[in-house]
Symmetry: C2
Subunit: 234 residues, 2 copies
């Protein structure tokens, strides 16, 4: 096993343009390839696959990478198998997972990542590298064949992690309450990844990067903060 | 058909105690019964069925109603069929729907509500009276056999509806964006029900009640506000 992944909480941070805060990291991640296969299935805001791919092409032009949308291939399985770099963008996690299953992409994608294809995920694209999508924040707008995902890391991610708002008058569950409920039924740990944070995975080593600490949730333990640049051992 | 339902966005509003703001309405809804069957399956915060039932018993004692938890019956199908009033509390919608399917409650519950059993739902308990749970805010912590629900109203509810926060630096999707994505794949309308609002359904008539307007989302139409005390025709 020879993993090489960058899993970001968010594609964009407040005040920045798309992927801007990650570009230096992406030059390193994708240093051995000029062309990156883009998986546009999550369709944020319901954007078309072409429209989404255009946005990604513009961002990657700044580091001289060519982006090709997976939806343009007649045989998406072969496209995954032959890719030398892959990026899965954010959007709706249920839509993404459903499309990965329906196009029979889940198994070849997993195989490719285990062979060391450099991979970028943002938001939903990071979520699918966990064990399941059961800690997504998204609405279940499509019923997927399964909640199981790629298992590139031995825990789940909660992207766009949000701390409880002080003095909020809203009675809906906080993110922390939702994850506590998750642990009533599921044992895997959850990493609450704030916007501006990412996980860098090289082989078996998982390191938290970016500007923030992450919030770690384990079953039957109080949640705690993990500092950036720490190795994640869960 | 002879429906008699009260579907609230939230069990509790800021500064109040559990169900307090609805007690006068509940005296009317349950005027013909002293005993109400409580469905505790949604387990907010992971609370036990007994613990949840205790909270509900305390609230209903104020209007002299006896509460019996569905989990205490050996035959929950029969308990539903013989109930003269039903309340489904909030919590995690996926956990609730999964339990309703696993205990074969969905069909008898639907039959009972169509026969006119007075029914109170709050949050997840209201959500299940829509067509599907595809506009829940909850985490998918359990994989249910289906997202389809009771269809007591010809649209979906988004409970605890939240307007976009002005000047937010968070890049996650707003509630409005999420519902827009829902309409990329689904045709039914969505009623964004703010905390303090409820739907009162008598026979075929659905009226918005409570302190707030509701936000109405239809496919291919801009969302709009509907004033309280208006009939909902969707």
């Amino acid at each position: 096993m020879n993993k090489n992944l960058l899993l970001a909480s968010s594609s964009t941070i407040y005040g920045g343009s798309y992927l801007e805060y990650l570009l230096l990291e992406l030059e390193v991640l994708f240093k051995d390839t000029d062309t990156i296969l883009f998986i546009p299935y999550a369709r944020p805001d319901g954007i078309t696959h072409d429209g989404y791919t255009n946005i990604v092409q513009k961002a990657f032009k700044k580091i001289n990478k060519k982006i090709i949308g997976l939806h343009t291939y007649e045989n998406p399985i072969k496209a995954i198998q032959e890719a030398s770099g892959i990026f899965t963008g954010g959007g709706n996690t249920f839509v993404l997972v459903n499309a990965l299953y329906k196009n029979n992409i889940m198994a070849p994608l997993r195989a490719g990542l285990l062979q060391g294809i450099p991979y970028l995920g943002t938001s939903a694209g990071s979520n699918i590298c966990g064990l399941t999508i059961q800690t997504t924040n998204d609405m279940p707008i499509i019923y997927p064949p399964s909640f199981k995902t790629l298992g590139m890391i031995p825990f789940n991610i909660n992207p766009h992690y949000l701390d409880p708002t002080k003095d909020s008058k809203h009675m809906g569950e906080t993110r922390e309450t939702r994850i506590k409920e998750y642990h009533q039924y599921n044992t895997p740990a959850v990493v609450g990844l704030r916007e501006g944070s990412w996980l860098r995975i090289i082989d078996q080593k998982i390191v938290l990067k970016g500007t923030h600490s992450a919030r770690i949730f384990k079953q039957d333990t109080s949640p705690y903060e993990l500092k950036t640049n720490s190795e994640i051992l869960l």
